[in-house]
Assembly symmetry: C2
Homo-oligomer: 229 residues x 2
């Protein structure tokens, strides 16, 4: 499955969170990161080129800093130009229908403020309704929004977890069930270039992968047994 | 009360609804229509000039065609530039706090489709949450959204009503109670340049104004009487 990350950020090099995310998926061949402000410094978006890009991917992600409860202006311009022409309307069925659509948002305010009684009053799901409406209009499958709140204040442990969760959001199967996540993790461990690592570590990684598969089998057996009753 | 209409539309001259709205308030000295795409053809917004403009008005309206459940990109750019700088944060309290904020949206799809089970699934109020959140953040008073659905298909009678409703939305007192609306209408009738009209029509207008004031007094008396019980 190929994933297209349509990234909008006016000062990408100054954003710690965006640099972190870009590095996190650099090694994935199936992920294309498409930074709009670099591609179109004059703001003139080429709808045909964008249509071709969309056609080659099955999961489409909008990734941006959450500015005033929405995206930077160039991503909005992208929407109006790319979704707006007659050409797109003719092709709409084949370009986006049935594909997955997700949001990766970096947010300056703590997640707990996005609720009734919180500082921001509305939930992230309420504030991102326009994107849900777009996915619905295009007959796409809307993935749960991936919000990264206050990245700069996160501990190293949290950042490591974020790295894995983000990689999964872009490349793992949805919905993110236990089974899909386990399969993804085993595959990630098995495709790690073990030769580049110290023997002790590579042995450990292989042991974890075996253990995960074993547990998955035990769980499957248990489910079968329960189903017989 | 001075009203600032921040209008964003990339092809203003081709928009029948926007031309209609602009004409509807041309005669009002207290209304400033500020078309962003004319003012900033290169997209470079001057935050200081915009701050000064905001300072001189008590009611701020965002007026735009509802493209992909949001504004054209230049209005989003305006938000990021005008609300974004340190200068604005310092002045925020004096620039926007306590002022009124409204939306005037021209929408291509019928209003009844914006509901659960309708073609658009979400209500206009749900889709405009980001603007409600901005008003809340700025401690502004959010006015009920003024949506103009399928302008081109409206009858002449509906358009006449729309004209009055729009003029009221920009210049009348909020909330739009019966009392406030009556006062506004009487004032509008009384400040009409009657000398430019045929005698018969000017007499009729004066009669309507007198009648409205009379009814308002009757209603006030009735309320007083009821309050005594």
């Amino acid at each position: 499955m190929n994933t297209l990350v349509i990234l909008s950020h006016p000062n990408l090099s100054e954003s710690g969170s965006q640099q972190f995310l870009i590095n996190a998926v650099e090694a994935y061949e199936q992920v294309t990161v498409h930074h709009l402000e670099s591609q179109y410094p004059d703001g003139k978006i080429d709808p045909q080129a964008e249509h071709e890009l969309l056609k080659r991917h099955q999961r489409i992600i909008f990734q941006f800093p959450f500015y005033w409860y929405s995206s930077p202006s160039l991503l909005k311009e992208w929407q109006d130009v790319v979704f707006g022409g007659e050409d797109f309307y003719r092709q709409q069925g084949t370009i986006l229908k049935g594909k997955e659509f997700g949001l990766v948002l970096s947010v300056g305010v703590s997640e707990k403020e996005y609720r009734a009684g919180g500082r921001e009053a509305y939930t992230m799901d309420e504030l991102t309704r326009p994107y849900q409406a777009i996915a619905r209009h295009m007959e796409m499958i809307y993935l749960p929004c991936f919000g990264i709140h206050q990245f700069a204040y996160q501990s190293e442990a949290k950042k490591k977890q974020l790295l894995i969760d983000y990689q999964y959001y872009l490349t793992g199967r949805q919905p993110a069930s236990l089974e899909h996540r386990t399969n993804w993790l085993v595959n990630e461990l098995r495709t790690t270039n073990l030769e580049s690592l110290p023997m002790e570590l590579s042995d450990k990684i292989e042991a974890i992968a075996v253990d995960l598969k074993d547990r998955q089998e035990v769980l499957a057996d248990l489910k079968d047994t329960l189903a017989e009753f």
